[in-house]
Symmetry: C2
């Protein structure tokens, strides 16, 4: 699982940072899931290894322009890139109507199926390998954080050892593979776990934006391998953060700490901290690290590999 | 008057060319008028000398996404850049509704006045120095070409000469300045034109996109100093041009020739002619020049000064 930051600025683009979007690459299936799609997200895709044709799902946190104004252009271009498949889009109430209005007035007819799912707190998408859940955050408009949890995988079943033990083949093997305890016809009791390798714990990716500090973020980010949290403001500007319902870098760090996350990556920075200003982004980073040392700061086109942990 | 090409690709952005937008700089008033506003137009403004805060009017040719998907982001950013003034937007029916829907669903509230004018063929904007007219073009959806005509200015009145001739000061001077013929109290007949310098012919900027070859383009571009005309396809792909109601570079050249334009600048190129393909953009240029030698090919962030002609 690899993350590519396509935009790390809040509100407006700068020369160095575009507005919000993150690509999550699922290499198992050569599939990309996008989180938010600010204006010029498709332009950012031209500058990195993520292919627009790989996008399969788009998760939208909220309907502010810097998170959605790139959707229509990206969806139109996707339709022209090779043989378009299908795109599922998830987001708050109003997203479907927004896209329908844009299509109507711009005379846009997509040549592939698009399904817009209006999300509610809880599971928004589930398949064998992944579950995506969302939780409401605390922003000026309805906003949701997303969590992608990879399904835990039981370790490899040791077929050779099972044969050595003289376990007769048949449905028993399936039970043992699942880690169940089985009593054989000859009376021996076999614990399937002894025949399986270590369980592979699934990876957990959590994305919280836009929001001021809130308990829901901590709940969503529990035990996350990587928490990506907005960090619009510096701690010194906390008053602005509370007023506009955005986070300081220290709020993001407190969420990571409270959630027991393995790693925190800050993003969604106000352009006011550009180099040369009294407070700069490195100050935001240092303040966060004082609370949660495993903190990184995202930059545009930065990639981050979420490593698998073996328990 | 200076033109800056902010996007010269048709349909989709490429690494080298963004989708449509042109800035017309009116130095007399440090004011910029934009023509079309494809996605990431505001991003292009970060890379050139045109300041977003200078934009005063936006003229939209038609509502296809590659011409309007940058509007909302640009208008939102404009509101955050310094002290926003007011923006007038001109375009076909549906533009107002499009912008209203986008504002509604994205919870966008502009902190400055925006007035959307639904255009009809004829004069769409007039002031002392400039007149903007539009004419319907021939495209899959309602599309209009625009012409900006600078008002002719009568030459400087030679006050010294008038005094030498002993013409008494008073309202007579105003008449002479206007080039009128005046009979003085002493019987002398004075032609105002003899006291005025050469008339400064106003400059004419014409922008035709998207369209297949049509007579209206020729009418709009009559005697233009610069005609900017779409050139999506090569002459070899004329069938596609007729089918999709776009122009070949040779159609653009025929319009320039028929209109007696001084100069033609091609833009809105299909990405299919990128370097390495069987037909490349230089082929489009050469084919146009065979018909209309004063042809240039636009590239992103290219600037072009429209010089004043003195008759
Ligand atoms: Zn927001
Ligand atoms: Zn078009």
């Amino acid at each position: 699982m690899q993350i590519t930051f396509l935009g790390t600025s809040s509100g407006v683009p700068t020369r160095a940072r575009n507005v919000s979007s993150i690509a999550l690459n699922l290499p198992q299936r050569a599939e990309v899931w996008l989180f938010d799609c600010g204006e010029a997200t498709q332009h950012q895709l031209l500058r990195c290894d993520v292919k627009i044709s790989q996008i399969r799902r788009i998760f939208v946190t909220h309907l502010h322009g810097d998170h959605i104004f790139g959707l229509m252009g990206l969806l139109a271009t996707y339709g022209m890139a090779g043989s378009p498949d299908r795109i599922d889009i998830y987001g708050p109430k109003g997203l479907d109507e927004y896209l329908r209005a844009c299509q109507k007035y711009s005379y846009t007819h997509f040549n592939y199926p698009i399904k817009v799912h209006t999300i509610e707190p809880g599971v928004v998408h589930q398949e064998a390998d992944f579950t995506v859940t969302c939780i409401p955050l605390k922003h000026k408009v309805p906003a949701y954080g997303y969590r992608v949890s990879e399904t835990d995988k039981s370790g490899r079943f040791n077929l050779e050892k099972a044969k050595e033990l003289g376990i007769p083949s048949g449905p028993i093997y399936g039970k043992l593979k699942n880690g169940e305890v089985v009593t054989l016809a000859d009376g021996r009791v076999i614990n399937g776990r002894d025949l399986c390798g270590e369980t592979e714990i699934g990876r957990k990716f959590v994305y919280c934006t836009d929001t001021v500090f809130c308990e829901n973020s901590i709940e969503l980010a529990a035990d996350a391998d990587v928490l990506i949290h907005e960090s619009t403001f510096a701690h010194e500007d906390a008053e602005m953060a509370f007023d506009r319902l955005h986070s300081t870098s220290t709020m993001a760090a407190q969420v990571a700490l409270g959630a027991g996350a393995k790693e925190l990556i800050l993003t969604h920075f106000s352009p006011r901290y550009a180099p040369g200003n009294p407070i700069v982004l490195d100050d935001l980073l240092q303040a966060a690290r004082a609370i949660f040392p495993q903190t990184k700061m995202a930059y545009d086109l930065m990639t981050h590999e979420i490593a698998r942990r073996i328990n």
